[in-house]
């Protein structure tokens, strides 16, 4: 029915044309849901040391523990079920990535809108900061910050926010500058609506598509970055292993044939990141106004 043909519905219809992207989206949603529900669905709570038995350590995939629990993906050195460890690790990764993404998006959007709106000196100052920020490698910034602040979930969220906000700021500014010149904004000015309302109610919603694309890609990036940092041992605390830490933990055994401790978390990380990126690419195609019909 035509009445229901909202921009969102059109977007969904366009998105569905690419079967690979739909597959990736379904996969991602499944991974995400499983990770969020990990405390209900995983066979074991890998953080609860009382449930672990060192005697069950390094069992290969398919083997059962002493109390009969089957380790479908094997167990790690401390006797953790890898399935459970991966799901809990994914949850941690997602929480960190999404929290930092949301904060970074909020900060970046405000900065970008302010730059586009005020122009002149404000714009120059803010955007030069963004340029400087973007000229440093992300990993370097993270390492320096974590070295200063120390470890911890909160600290790594802060580090990821510091790394990411500039991407959002730059994207929002670019699209706000384009939108600001469109005739519908002039019409709103002509209707004597206050500038703040024009900025947030008229311009911002039209800047969302590129923001969503950047957000998707940034989530994948920060999952990867967090994994890297944890792998290097400066990320999340060892008591709540994220994927990166799991991979690092298994690394020492990999040459002795105990591949699964590193391998399966690695596959989980790869599949997650690839599915997010596939979704992101499709979003970019669908939401790009120049490709839009």
């Amino acid at each position: 029915m035509a009445e229901l043909d909202t921009p969102f519905r059109r977007f969904v219809a366009d998105f569905r044309e690419d079967k690979v992207a739909v597959g990736a989206a379904v996969l991602f949603v499944a991974i995400f849901a499983a990770a969020m529900a990990c405390s209900y669905i995983s066979p074991q709570n890998p953080y609860d040391l009382r449930q672990l038995d060192i005697m069950d350590g390094k069992l290969p995939p398919g083997k059962a523990s002493m109390d009969g629990l089957v380790f479908w993906l094997g167990s790690d050195g401390q006797g953790r079920d890898m399935v459970s460890a991966i799901l809990y690790g994914l949850r941690t990764s997602f929480l960190v990535a999404v929290t930092s993404g949301l904060i970074a998006a909020a900060v970046g959007t405000s900065v970008g809108l302010a730059a586009a709106y005020y122009g002149g000196l404000v714009d120059t100052l803010l955007m030069r900061t963004v340029d400087i920020k973007l000229s440093f490698p992300a990993i370097l910034i993270a390492l320096v910050l974590l070295a200063v602040f120390g470890q911890g979930t909160g600290k790594i969220v802060i580090a990821l926010v510091v790394i990411q906000w500039a991407y959002y700021a730059r994207t929002v500014r670019a699209s706000a500058l384009v939108e600001r010149r469109k005739e519908y904004v002039e019409a709103a000015q002509c209707l004597a609506l206050p500038q703040r309302r024009i900025l947030f109610r008229h311009i911002l919603p039209n800047c969302l598509p590129p923001l969503i694309v950047v957000g998707t890609i940034q989530i994948a990036n920060s999952i990867a970055l967090e994994a890297t940092l944890s792998f290097l041992g400066v990320g999340l605390p060892i008591t709540e292993p994220s994927l990166g830490l799991l991979i690092a933990n298994g690394f020492e055994y990999i040459l002795s044939g105990v591949y699964w401790i590193s391998f399966f978390p690695g596959v989980a990380l790869l599949v997650t990141i690839v599915s997010i990126n596939l979704v992101g690419d499709r979003l970019r195609d669908v939401l790009n106004p120049r490709l839009q019909k």
Binding site: P7, E186, A188, C190, L193
Partner: protein, 332 residues
Amino acid sequence: MATPIVELKDVSKRFVKSLDMAGKLAAKLGANVREETVHAVDRVSLSVAEGEVVGLVGESGCGKSTLGRIVAGILPQTQGEVLYRGQPLSALSGQARVKAALAVQMIFQDPYASLNPRMRVADIIGEAPLYHGLTDKAGEVAYLDETMRRVGLDPAYKKRYPHQFSGGQRQRIGIARALAVKPEFVVCDESVAALDVSIQAQILNLFMELRAALNLTYLFISHDLGVVRHLSDRVVIMYLGRVVEEGNTDDLFANPNHPYTVALLGEIPRLDTRKRVFVPVKGEIPSPLNPPGGCHFHPRCPHAMARCSVEAPVLREIAPGRRAACHLNDAS
């Protein structure tokens, strides 16, 4: 004479394309980059009386839209004064300023870009009157329905988004949005140019109906002389930012004075002239970045004299109600 509803006094608008940091550096190093200034509108004076339709004509880039936007309060002028009912807009503040702003509305050229793609028709039309208290939550629906009916839109469509409408319908939405704040003066900037021929007539008829019903005053910007002639009481011709001729429509079409007006009228293809031999105006439209000195039209003017390239002619009265800016008028 009664106070004009809108009056421009010596209004100019300059756009300066300033150099970015790289440009400044390059300029310091002797590269040939400069700040570029466009005189989009150059000392234009114009007054529009209540109930009048003034047509504004000129070629691309001559400053019609810029002038329209200044009148509509979207762009600030660089110089000069815009008066609303005799009061300079710059002297108004608070409620009086909002009132003056709402009194002058604009209808745009592009039926696509001029509507916010993420808003429903109900919000596009209804936002401003609700915000400014022209209606309240209780009366909003009735107000919206009435406004939509007035421009020939079915109120059943109000939940739809702009992309679900045809070009002509979108233009009606734009008109409804302007009418919703009860304007007295409407600037129409090429408002039918993007529409199909058969739809143009529908929208032009709507403009004429609304004018009669709501006692509107129009500044009607168009490059289509046929349309302007049909609608306007008075016509203003612009060339490269300046007004070159102005007068009563019938007069001006019957007796164009300025050589540019003569050329422009000669170029209009007509239905009733078959297989005619075109006698084109020579030359291109000069770049507004670097307009010719003196009379801007002199490189293309068949009557150009030595004086024309050094001295800009002033716009002055050549007959009652007729003004033109050409040195030829001094000879007599």
